[in-house]
Symmetry: C2
Subunit: 154 residues, 2 copies
């Protein structure tokens, strides 16, 4: 399967939005991500429904973040995306009659559950504010005025 990069992608979008004052269009955000505006809208749709972002049509429209950055965790975003599959592996059958398969499912299942739970816990501990601060830490000090355009020239 192709690796799911929606969480990675939407975080990229949100952090770019966080660094710019006004509304950002899907068009602009798509260029920063080297992708298509429709992909941006699709990613953002779930976030809008959860009230994490707002969108406006027409002139001067675009996307804005609708909540304080320190009150949005990666977990909130993950859930807004529709809680995509975390693991690429799984049990062959869900409710097998075969005792052998039941034993396999029990052993693998608990390991899978633990790994998922760990990841979700980590997601819950990281806020957009923290990530945004990390971006600043990574910047050569003089470049604090980096715009969406030249952010991708480096």
């Amino acid at each position: 399967m192709k690796r799911d990069s929606r969480l990675s992608g939407v975080l990229h979008i949100l952090l770019h939005m966080a660094r710019q004052p006004g509304p950002q269009t899907s068009e602009t955000l798509a260029r920063a991500m080297e992708t298509n505006p429709v992909v941006v809208r699709r990613l953002m749709a779930g976030l809008r429904e959860q009230g994490l972002v707002r969108s406006e049509k027409g002139h001067g429209g675009g996307w804005v973040i609708a909540r304080d950055l320190d009150r949005i965790t990666l977990r909130d975003i993950y859930e807004a995306l529709g809680e995509p599959e975390i693991l690429a592996m799984g049990n062959r059958t869900e409710a097998p009659g075969c005792l052998v398969e039941q034993a396999v499912n029990a052993a693998l299942g608990s390991a899978f559950d633990e790994a998922e739970a760990l990841l979700l816990r980590r997601f819950g501990e990281v806020t957009l504010a923290q990530l945004s601060a990390d971006v600043v830490d990574r910047m050569p000090s003089a470049a604090d005025t980096t715009t969406l355009e030249n952010a991708h020239e480096a």
Copy 2:
């Protein structure tokens, strides 16, 4: 993508083999798994290369486990399968120039790594012997003579 169930499948195969004395053919094992003999051979190919199982051609041939059950961990089997992808999610880009994406990758990447490490650690702690014992625990006591055939009728 479709969920990868190779580990689950190969464990099912191995535990069925563990409960029968002689060599088992791909044909027989495939019937127990409700799949195709070629799929069985494909799953077992890696295990054979790692010396976990042996195969013989011709009359009376088939597959046998080549090592004590308590010396085979799920991790051994996972590695013999070629270490398939564990996570369905990943970073959009591996070595991005964009500082924003670098920050995203760092945050997500460490969480991903932790989850993977946890799962692999769990795999390393479980042996085939333990799983096989668990199968017995799940059996109604009188059914200890369950064969491959009626194991799937219950």
